[in-house]
Symmetry: D2
Subunit: 434 residues, 4 copies
């Protein structure tokens, strides 16, 4: 039997612009980073289409995954000051942090909606399947890969470990808020991580925070809130997502209609048919997708051609705010008008909704249960965050939703024939803005 | 005749992590950014293979080009305080700054070496040819595109303008040193740009710097020096470049030998034949190249397959320092040994040399003339930088060269049959290290 | 008649760690900075006793005043893009920004409470009185000093100008939040000032902010909220303030009782008698105060001696939270016990309360009217901030108050005789914590 | 016998703007920080008169001393990975780092020149004398204070320990370069401390640096070079020093002449007489000095009065470059002219010279021996830095000296009577500039 991985002869470091250095002492982690499945994350951007809004945001999931690992490494250091852990638990934490996004594909958000793939399933598949990642993990024991997969799937027996990587304040979020702020250049996203780590205390089923650190937690929650609305749900990014998902739909529709592509989209076949293997999935990355989008600009289908050109050259759709209930009233007329001027409303008139629940306390029985953040009083009592903080209380449990209607204003403006219809369409749309 | 571009109704800003904001007031600039040739720069990384060494360095030439434009915008503001310019000269400067890298293709360094393309020629081609960029520039007058191309080619009549974008201290270098430092996370690359811009003074044929700002100039030269050796010539990056250029060579060789590719590499045909059109060139970006590298991992040719896998999964070559004169003595034996154990030395034994001339004063008649940096004394005299600064004097005119020999240590280690040859090879190589 | 000040031959710059550079082009500003009354601000710390909690916070009001001037300079630049101002209005703004704190004395907070001085009155006195500042201002016209004083006193006719320097989001606050965060090293206090300045629009009676910049305003309000509770009201700082004010009270009491000081406290005489002249006031700075505190460590009065030693050597009082209504019940017993063990409760048992109203909308008729922050919708409508922002709404109009009871725990711990009384005191105090 | 200090129940942290947090785990360190001699460093600025040039530089030696301690704490952590130390050696290092500047008085540079005090002697006196610091140190053993004093005096047996705090690259310099850069706001002074600490390796008599970290060392040396000439030797700061030392000389001269001061300068008596006790010395701080300078503005002696006003109100002397050999020729005439127009040349015509040796390799037998910086090759060899680095070689061993002649240009300009002499003086002085 193979010898288990131990400690590297000399610590390896990665220069990281967010955490300055990422420190690797464990052979296991070093080997995981070297696997082809992990290296593949270099070809998948962390923020999908956001680079079309914030040009700095070109960083990948590789970049982020190393960051989550580094934060987890520091968390574990803190936790080990307070409780005795066997060394395997530590490695389970580190490996889970490193691999938590391993199942992501290119532009996951749109792909999952159109092709009903699920990156969490793929993560499990990569960790437990026939992969380099699995072979490395297995060196630590037959059960080890399963443990790592369980942590990521939140089914692991040790709830404390799960909470470090998936909770309202975990290594994943702590990294991405800071990293995405760094790369986009926005001034939000900063909070005092060093202090958060220092006031963190392990309990049986989650990490809690000393009450004296409440303001650092508040600041983190506010960063999260600002990043969501300023960066993640930026309407221009959503416009690019809208076009992206329409491209995927169009290609699938054409395929199903027996359309003859000039360059066979063989990487998409199994996606179209819904029978995708792990091997097929691992070949998908953003290079492959962008290769096809470029090729499809020369396809004969005018819709596919136009949408791909829009995505590649950033000729995005414009948008108006809309109120879905109000909007239903104008929908039939809009569709009729779009048809009249020759625009297929399935591709050129799209509603996109974003919503966020910035912080939630526990409500048993509700659909998406979330473990609340608890503060530890000097006397040992735990208090739920929103009961202590006015600011958090103000935004907790309040789901905010934003609806936008996207359409190609340039096509309307440029068309010559249907002046009256065009005026009517613009009038209907602009009236939505209120 | 079309109306010339004027000033935007409302200033546009881009959030930029390096310069905080990039300000666009001129319609011309806004339109240029929107062209498909400029948007294409989003698919070409600024630092080629450097992301395999510094994972943060995933930023593109789009990112950098906006930065150079922004610095030029500030330079022009400063210069206009000192001299009267007609407004066209200002726009020529801004457009040249924005477009100075428009001719770059994917991994330019290796492509230019293997296929003898020249990004400066392509820049000219894009500015003067049948492109969206050309059509936008032409709105400013028939002669306008030529002026912009001349500035970038350093043949423009106004040498001051040329110096702002191509000299030893120009908008291009000022941006890339800061930007590459930011994204890699290294602590070099910082200098006081705001001060440099403030002490800059225009003269007839170049911008000079007030003597009181000498230390800021020194600091900039030192940043440059450190970035070259710490980042740009990093041996791991060069290992990736070595593999990349071997892949291109191999593909070309196979093509010339009539090898049958599983997936026709049609994007490469005109490169292979040396007859590439502007249209072909503009289709090349890093997505396309990486698409093929992934496909080629499944080719039958074992060398192409192996090299592509190495590049995609970051299984790079190891290296030893080497002294080219010494190394010539062992070369015949090494080649013989490599042949014996079945490794084609054309692909698996590669010398790479990097050299840098951190600062040079003017030496008439020499091959690569460089305009020196001049300091302006209070009495109006100009003094060449290295005569005033000990530190700069120390490194000026001194070309430093570094040679490394790259080889696949893993293949040597893993092979079982030729134990003796392997030992001999390793001994010869290690002896180089001295 | 003297020639009015114009523009400096060459712009002067100050290197500033917060704003990078502070730019001075106007002779008036340059001359004001050179006056002895302004230079005196170098001897008065911006944050009083805060340096005893955050050792980095040693910066002075000189430092801050330059910063407020610089922000105002940028605000005026923005505003002049939108409205025509005569050049005098601009200089009134800049001078008022620079001089807004000119009337501050050493440790103003405590001095004002004990000696009933008022820094706003002294500001007026310095601007209108026989000072170098007044003589410089007068060069701009007889009415000019009065205008500057009126802006600072909020009685100036142009309410827009007043709002730039005294409102809920003004140049003063924008500087101190950033500056105090920088020097203390806390991670709060950051917001996107550049964006705030860009979305600022002048109206007749205040500056408003474009609605699209709401999140930057929210972020600013949250910074303010965090800085108040994390820095400005830090309980250790307040402990130092408590001791400081007790020292001043004791010195005054002793003086009134005819106590013979070893070293005559001549700088304090007019403060003690309440008849302080401008000349006397301008001689007071922190050096003078600390000189006396050092001298008083050798006075015979044990209370004065002890309190001064505590302040100089940072042997501060400890504190417990207290609820003023509850606390009234134990007060009589506490006083009796303190008397019994020989501690004068007037000096050794002190309640300090801090309260903050992080943001308030306008409530006509209330004591401290505050002009609300208004957002400008694209259609020209104004909307009050807290109606648009959930987060601001959560904290607006909510006065938060914190009461603490300070006492010398070391003296209790060290005393030997009254063990029972000591136990009882500690029990009473600790019970307050709840 | 008292129990030795151990480890604090809970780690204490100080928020520090340069190192983010300063961590204290040892009771000894906590107690030393609380002594009155250490708290006194809060009243002595780190950079003397530099705040008159860079307004941000108002930080004190307290601030810096904590920083040096923190860097030493990290160094010791690194070193303990490589060698076994007894725990006392660790505490000796930490205490010496914290206390290395404890003997500094106000404006040490000028005081030492005028009154021949020596802060190194006072450091020893405070550590070994009857002080709170000594009493705290003694708890660790009778010999402990002596060890700490020996480390600071460079006479300690363990040369490695000495080198950590006093060498060309030590905890002291690492802190002050970064801290002074931070507070002044200049862009120099940054280097990659984290990397330096990671490549540091202990040897018997000094810490050396792994060769792979050479560029980080180079960068540190360049930072040092830039900080000296851009900040520490700034001519405006030196103008303030010139005035300061003239004030001290004048006061001493007057005292020796039996001049009757309005307010007895009792704090200066023992300085004037050269018989200063430890108790006297510890009472001196910048508040006391500035108190007297303010008082002396009202003295009858016109020179003392004028010089104090200049210092307090920042009406500094102007300067011209001078070449001491050339300058000797004009000296007699200048003195005569100054006398003629009634300016005492002893106070109003002052040459100040600054010189710096940015890096030096060891030259046995020379006056100021400095231990060179050594690089550790992978094979275990040591190589002296300047032999490996071109940049360092360029500036090593080269003493650079700068001479300036200071004089009150305003007094010359304002005087009316001696127009001819004034012209002649200005002509002689300006000719120096060359």
């Amino acid at each position: 039997m193979a010898k288990r991985f131990g400690v590297l002869e000399e610590e390896k470091v990665f220069k990281d612009p967010v955490h300055r250095y990422i420190h690797v002492r464990d052979e296991l982690i070093w080997e995981l980073i070297g696997t082809k499945e992990f290296q593949r994350l270099r070809r998948i951007r962390q923020l999908g289409t956001t680079y079309l809004t914030f040009h700095g945001a070109e960083h990948t999931r590789f970049n982020h995954s190393l960051g989550v690992y580094e934060i987890m490494r520091r968390m574990v250091e803190t936790i080990e000051q307070d409780m005795a852990w066997d060394s395997e638990e530590r490695l389970v934490c580190l490996a889970a942090a490193l691999l938590h996004d391993i199942g992501h594909g290119p532009f996951s958000h749109s792909f999952e909606k159109v092709f009903h793939t699920d990156h969490e399933e793929w993560t499990k598949g990569i960790i437990l399947g026939d992969t380099e990642v699995h072979n490395v993990l297995k060196v630590m024991g037959e059960e080890f890969p399963k443990k790592v997969a369980d942590v990521i799937a939140k089914t692991y027996h040790n709830k404390l470990v799960v909470s470090l990587i998936s909770s309202q304040i975990d290594a994943d979020r702590m990294d991405y808020l800071q990293r995405d702020a760094f790369y986009t250049g926005v001034s939000y996203g900063h909070f005092d991580m060093e202090r958060l780590l220092r006031v963190m205390r392990p309990t049986e089923d989650q990490a809690v925070f000393k009450h004296s650190g409440m303001h650092a937690v508040e600041d983190y929650i506010m960063s999260r809130y600002q990043m969501y609305w300023q960066v993640y749900f930026h309407p221009v990014t959503r416009s690019a997502e809208v076009i992206l998902s329409r491209i995927l739909h169009r290609a699938k529709d054409l395929y199903e209609q027996g359309y003859e592509f000039k360059d066979k989209p063989k990487h998409f076949y199994s996606l179209f048919s819904g029978k995708i293997t792990l091997g097929d999935y691992l070949k998908l990355d953003e290079s492959v997708i962008l290769y096809y989008f470029q090729e499809w600009q020369e396809e004969e289908d005018p819709i596919l051609q136009d949408l791909c050109r829009r995505f590649m050259d950033r000729k995005l759709f414009k948008y108006v705010e809309c109120d879905p209930s109000e909007q239903m009233k104008i929908w039939p007329e809009l569709i009729q008008l779009f048809n009249k001027i020759g625009l297929d409303h399935n591709y050129y008139l799209v509603i996109d909704s974003s919503s966020d629940l910035p912080y939630d306390f526990y409500r048993p029985g509700e659909e998406e249960e979330r473990v609340p953040i608890n503060l530890l009083k000097p006397n040992g009592d735990l208090r739920e965050l929103s009961r202590e903080s006015d600011v958090v209380e103000a935004i907790s449990g309040k789901k905010r939703t934003d609806h936008k209607l996207y359409f190609p204003k340039d096509l309307l403006d440029n068309q010559q024939t249907f002046a009256e219809e065009k005026q009517r369409i613009l009038k209907l749309l602009m009236a939505q803005e209120g």
